[in-house]
Amino acid sequence: MENPQVKYVQRFTVFPRFLHFLVIISFLTLAVTGMALKFASERWAEIIAELLGSFEVLGALHRLMAVVTFIYFGLTFILMYQNWRKSGKSLLQFILYKDSMIPNLNDAKELVQTFRWFFGLGPQPQYGRWTYWEKFDFMAVFWGVAVIGGTGLCLWFPETFTLVIPGYWLNIATIIHSDEALLASGFIFTVHFFNTHLRPEKFPMDPVIFTGTMPLDELKHERPREYAELVASGKLDEVIVPPVPRWFFVISHVFGFTALGIGLTLVISIIFSMVYLYL
């Protein structure tokens, strides 16, 4: 795989990779422990509770990982701040420029081009540093953490929250927390997994989020606009890096496959249970 002739480019620095590691660890744990409670009547949920000890362990892990979530939520803002300062743009420019993390008009254009491409009505769009689905994933985390985290805090500290809110709001919070979590898990374990790892071009997985590097060819092919811009600005050589050591490559795959496996298993269990419970 690591043909020494293959050139690699740096896509992610250590900080975002670390953040995504935190996301994987916390999200998987939250999903597994939370879904075990949501689908408590299912055999697989019982097995999870039995493996971990009891529902109290599930709860403890869930709360611990909620803390991790709040931490990475905060750290992401620091990352954004760093990126902004590095870019040398004004805050507004940073938010609105083409390769901003915030979806913009160009993303809508690319979305339309993509659908045309799907139907053979045009060429594949010249994606830049961030595609629209990647931006959606990123923004979904913000939305999700806010909604799930907020309702989750209500459920974590019901006695304190009910000093202000009525008791039945806890019931509403439960529904929102649980269904939003179902949406988040379902989305990550199917759409995100497919878009990033499982689609035939990437199958079985794209290790870039762990290794931080991707082959230059892939950059050329998948993000032609970013490549073109790098060449134009003469900054391509700055991002060319040596391949990661083989051991790190292996570890990245082992970790990645494990995470994929857990996520897929869970989502299959959920789909199976929902079909079984509601139909």
């Binding site: 139907f119 594949q124 009910t162 039945y168 019931n171 529904i175 269904d179 989305f187």
Partner: protein, 672 residues
């Protein structure tokens, strides 16, 4: 003739007087000695004539001297014979024994006999008729007419059938002497020579003979029991079959007097032959090889282990073999031949009566071979009281005892068609079973505490102690406090007037698998139990955190129905005593949620988002969330679906490019 006799006496008297004068000249006191009397009365042919009949006046000196009065002079009784000269008044007056025996005389005077004498009844017996005249002997002298062996004959002198007395007197009892001689008393006296046997005077007294109609009589209805009890001290115990114990004290007038069952002169021991003692039985039954060939050819041992019997409660109470094995007959050889089965109701009438109404008893009445009879549980010769640790009916041994038939696979369990299975095994795992066998807590309930010992019936029978109507009382024998609490709960028929079935103890606690309420096993079942009736409440409970967590490992710790609603004191929230009433609900939640407050208790523990009318907020929230979910997945589903074929094409394109590059590269290498 008399003149000649008197002459002889006169001649003797003359010499006697001369002799006395010679010896006792200074003594002028006149004295009549026995010798003076015997001068005449020792003549065997001395007779007197009265109403044309001659009778002897002869007194056998030797007999008189040997009699009780031998030391007393003749004139101490025949006072009117003490006269000067040869001749005493004739005839002499009747000797009045009361002169000396004044107490007895008075009793006699008031007796039937004395009164008859007073009324000049010619058959009235005077002292001498029973005691004799000059030959009176002590009653312990075998020759005495009043010696116990002779009393029937003494009395029979008049009371024998056919005598002048019986012919002229209307006495309600006939053949008295004959009956007596056939009775157990008579037989004891006459055949066995038992001097402790009752004779006439034992019951009627010697001197105070009174008719049975006289309340003072020893044989009056009021007194006859006391009279019999002089010898038969244990009649209460002996009559338990006939007379309930408390009646002796409470309503003695309802009890038949002894003689009403045991004819006064015909009293017989009817239960067993008197000659049959245990040693007699053991002559044969003490042999370990004693066997009987049954009709179907089976051999049956008839050996009775004496050691076994020695420790039995029947031995302690001195119950002889024949007391239970009653159908002995001397006509048979051996006497016990075909004596049949023992009927315990001879003594244990009430218990057997109860047993007969039980399932066991009813099966036995149908000759069902599976039916247990008394001996099945209590044993035969070695019957021990329930206080004996070795007894099969000692509380700790009862589960095993009942298990002999009711254990799974055994005969009773095979006959049983209900829903309770493995009852013995389950019982032993239950709090009652473990309390009994592991902790040795003798207050733990065993089979008989709930099912009773003798009147066990299936729960479906309204008379059964474990029928839903009665089971609360059965449990309340020990758990009174809880039963009282329960009686004021909504589940009690005293509070809920409803046609619906109200739960009783075993509906929640089960029958045989009862466990502590704080065990995981029990807490895990609470939802099922309440859910039997409260289905909707249980379903919605499972939609909330308490319910969901309760389904997972360790879930027994989350709040169950009873943690909020209470268990035995359960009441609807609108009762002021309810744990969920406004006044108490904050405190109820505080048990688990220390920070509970008024608003906190507004959490809907039975909420469902499927009920738009009841919980609109939840309903719309749920559907809004569902819409978001469906929308997102619909968009990305389509996005993905169309991407797949394109993605495949890209991959194949890439592979082709790679292989072309590889070929080109190879060509380049070759060229270079």
């Amino acid at each position: 003739m008399i003149q000649a006799d008197l002459r002889r006496i006169g001649l003797g008297g003359f010499f006697l007087i001369i002799a006395l004068f010679l010896v006792l000249t200074p003594v002028t006191v006149l004295a009549v000695t026995d010798d003076d009397c015997l001068d005449c009365h020792s003549e065997e042919d001395i007779v007197a004539e009265k109403d044309g009949e001659e009778y002897s006046l002869y007194v056998d000196e030797q007999v008189f001297l040997n009699s009780l009065h031998g030391e007393n002079g003749c004139v101490s009784c025949h006072e009117d014979a003490e006269v000067e000269g040869d001749e005493h008044p004739f005839p002499l007056a009747r000797v009045d024994c009361a002169n000396c025996h004044d107490e007895v005389g008075e009793i006699y005077a008031n007796s039937l006999h004395g009164q008859a004498l007073e009324a000049n009844d010619p058959y009235a017996p005077y002292c001498s008729d029973c005691h004799g005249k000059h030959d009176i002997l002590s009653h312990d002298n075998r020759k005495s007419r009043t010696f116990i062996m002779n009393i029937p004959f003494t009395c029979g002198g008049c009371h024998r059938e056919g005598t002048g007395m019986t012919k002229t007197h209307d006495i309600s009892k006939h053949n008295v002497l004959e009956n007596y001689s056939m009775s157990i008393h008579g037989e004891g006296l006459l055949r066995k020579g038992l001097t402790v046997t009752a004779v006439c005077s034992s019951c009627h007294t010697s001197h105070n003979v009174l008719p049975h109609t006289d309340p003072n009589s020893t044989i009056s209805r009021q007194n006859v029991v006391k009279t019999c009890m002089k010898c038969h001290a244990n009649i209460e115990d002996a009559h338990t079959k006939i007379i309930r114990g408390e009646l002796w004290e409470k309503e003695p007038h309802l009890i038949p007097a002894c003689v009403e069952c045991h004819g006064p002169h015909k009293a017989r021991r009817v239960l067993y032959e008197d000659s049959l003692n245990d040693l007699f039985c053991l002559k044969c039954h003490g042999n370990p090889d004693l066997k009987k060939i049954m009709a179907n050819g089976d051999e049956r041992s008839l050996y009775v282990d004496v050691d076994n019997f020695e420790h039995s409660i029947h031995k302690e109470k001195r119950i002889a073999c024949a007391k239970c094995h009653v159908n002995m007959d001397h006509k048979n050889n051996p006497v016990c031949q075909d004596s049949g089965k023992v009927d315990c109701s001879i003594c244990h009438a009430q218990v057997v009566d109860t047993y007969n109404k039980s399932t066991h008893g009813m099966l036995a009445a149908k000759n069902n071979k599976n039916a247990p009879v008394c001996t099945e549980c209590h044993g035969t010769h070695g019957i021990m009281p329930k206080s004996n640790y070795e007894s099969p009916i000692f509380a700790r041994n009862i589960p095993d005892l009942c298990g002999r038939c009711h254990r799974e696979g055994e005969k009773a369990a095979l006959l049983y068609t209900g829903t309770q299975h493995d009852i013995v095994k389950h019982y032993q795992m239950s709090i009652h079973g473990r309390g009994l066998s592991q902790s040795g807590l003798m207050v733990s309930a065993t089979c008989t505490n709930c099912h009773t010992a003798h009147s066990m019936l299936p729960a479906s029978n309204p008379e059964s102690s474990v029928n839903p109507k009665n089971i609360i009382s059965a449990c309340a024998q020990c758990h009174l406090g809880i039963a009282e609490k329960f009686s004021s709960s909504i589940h009690s028929p005293l509070v809920s007037k409803t046609d619906k079935k109200l739960p009783v103890c075993n509906d929640c606690h089960t029958s045989h698998t009862i466990s502590r309420h704080d065990t995981a096993g029990f807490r895990g079942l609470i939802l099922d139990e309440c859910g039997t009736c409260h289905e909707h409440e249980t379903d919605t409970y499972f939609d909330t955190y308490h319910g969901k967590a309760s389904m997972l490992s360790g879930g027994e710790k989350t709040a169950k129905c009873s943690d909020c609603h209470g268990a035995h004191d359960i009441l609807p929230a609108y009762y002021s005593g309810s744990r969920l009433n406004r006044r108490h609900v904050v405190k109820t939640c505080k048990k688990c949620h220390p920070g509970s407050n008024r608003k906190f208790t507004g959490y809907l523990t039975h909420a469902t988002h499927h009920d738009r009318d009841k919980y609109p907020y939840l309903f719309y929230t749920f559907w809004a969330m569902t819409g978001l979910l469906v929308g997102t997945f619909a968009f990305f589903g389509i996005h993905t679906l169309f991407w797949i074929p394109r993605s495949f094409r890209e991959r194949f394109k890439k592979r082709r490019q790679h292989s072309r590059q590889a070929i080109l590269k190879k060509d380049d290498d070759e060229k270079s």
